[in-house]
Amino acid sequence: MGVVILLLMAAGVAAMLTRRLPTAFALVLLAVAIAFAAGAPLTGKNSVLDTVLQEGAPALAATMIAILLGSWLGKLLEETGIAATLVRKIVEFGGDRPVFVALGVLAVSALVGTVTGSAPAAMLAGLIGIPAMIAVGIPKVTAAGTILMGIAVGIPFELPVWQFFSTALELPVDTVRGFMLKLFPFALVAAVAYVLVESRRRGVEHTWSLTSVRGESKPRSRRQLLGDAPWYALLTPVVPLVLALGFELAIIPSLLAGVLYALVTTTPPREMNRRLLRTLYGGFEVAAAPITLFVAIGILLAAVKLPGAVDALEPLVKAVSPQNAVLFVLVFTLLVPLCLYRGPLNVFGLGAGIAGVLIATGIYPATAVLGMATSYNQVFGVADPTSTQTVWSAQYAGVSPQQVMVRTLPYVWAVALGGLCVTAATQL
């Protein structure tokens, strides 16, 4: 029966890779198929309807709320001009040295990446950051990669991600936070190295572009005319981080504090209600795609944790999973490309199910699976040409996602290697 489940997983990956089905739909269908293959009854205890669908769908509810709050805060950063002001100041201070601008935009992307992820994070930093970098001479591929590498620096501090791994892997938030702090230096060093090495290798480029002279500008909206956000409002992205990391406050109140801080520092009292509601509704739109995915992942996790699935998969997975620390690092580092193109190790896809199998069968401790999943997440978040942030950044810069993947993959592969080494040294 284990072989049947693995074949079903392979079919699910094929459906996602060939884009026959959206990832979320493929995961739900896969979960139901796995549950039936594992011999689960239709209703009752450990069943398809009651356990997999009913209990699985809201299993990652805390993550969904965190994603929503992150998206809300992201909308506020956009509407109040906080993100734009940060980029503008960086260009003004360092614009004549392109590498300084790239490092500054990298820092802004990292800050934004701690608040929200995926395409919204890329847009917040990249809408002004990418053309600003290109305007000072940074080549397009380097500019797109800088945004993505910056967001990846923020990922270890992205509170919704902490919540996701905590709920999905059934680990305390403290444990997730502890490992993320160990992963952060690798992400930081790789990102800075990317900017410095790529700037040195590629130098600067300037174009005589036919699109440089735009049409007559449209009348500006009031928001656009408001100008720079005040300096103290620029601290907004740090507020949730300081509360969650420094004061060990829970994730949802930390994010809410960030929302309130952004509001109070940028908005006159008479406009607060309208802005709060407008940005919250905007946040729902941004969060719709990831929330859908988390519903599907919750369902898949519930399916692979069914006793029948665990019993069927345990001997197979045990046979191919390296127990030796060196082999663990070697094998899982070589498997890094499998998290690209919605592959089977993508933690926001089937990879979550595989992580669930590894924990449920007791092959690795949950903390080791955490190390593995978060290491892969650093790769997926930057180099996967099918992830929304990579597609958006590349296309906005005027290059292909594959070009960005080729340029960034060596750096994020090194980050994954670092994360896996730490995992093997501390968790196995």
Partner: protein
């Protein structure tokens, strides 16, 4: 608007100058980081950048020139890359520009072969603007303050201004009657029309 300018044989130099400056202001206004900036401030920066570009005297450093196709599809006329130093000239765009100049009756502003010469001069200016002492002078000329501590001022970078300086240098070096931005705008319009 550009078409009207081209067709009027008895053109007014002041009007031409104003139109060139308008194009420069529009380039700055369309450059990220200038959203919501006062148009008068942009106009002042555009004038300063063009003045700086006109007076530039770049070293005639040897740069490899490569001719390429596909410029019209990519929306490019030329590209400068610093590592290794190379200027790529998109010959299809240059040919289209030359034909457009003839069609619009702009030959007195842009003599035969001047587009290629302007492209090379433009990219040469960009290379020159990357020298530290030139950058410092350019920022002082623009006069945009990033930070002021007592009598000390830290000048800010103005995104897009180097493009204006490069165009102004190309115009001066090649003896063009109008800003290369006029040609850029007309080319963009012609390309978008032919796509329709």
């Amino acid at each position: 608007m550009s078409g009207d300018h081209g067709l009027s044989l008895g053109h007014d130099p002041d009007l031409d100058h104003d139109h060139d400056l308008d194009l420069a202001v529009r380039l700055l206004a369309g450059t990220p980081t200038h959203e919501g900036r006062d148009p008068l401030l942009l106009r002042r920066w555009a004038e300063a950048a063009e003045e700086f570009g006109r007076r530039m005297t770049p070293d005639p450093a040897p740069v490899r020139v490569v001719e390429r196709d596909g410029g019209l599809a990519a929306g490019l006329l030329a590209r400068y890359r610093s590592r290794p130093p190379v200027v790529e000239v998109y010959v299809d765009t240059v040919d289209r520009a030359e034909r457009l100049i003839t069609q619009r009756g702009w030959r007195h502003w842009f003599p035969e072969g001047s587009v290629l010469a302007a492209a090379l001069a433009h990219e040469q200016a960009h290379a020159w603007l990357h020298h530290a002492h030139v950058r410092a002078e350019f920022k002082r000329a623009l006069g945009h303050t990033a930070l002021r501590l007592g009598r000390r001022r830290l000048y800010a970078h103005v995104a897009g201004a180097d493009e204006l300086a490069a165009h102004a240098y190309a115009r001066a070096a090649c003896g063009l009657g109008r800003s290369p931005l006029l040609l850029t705008e007309a080319l963009a319009a012609a390309c978008s029309e032919s796509e329709k």
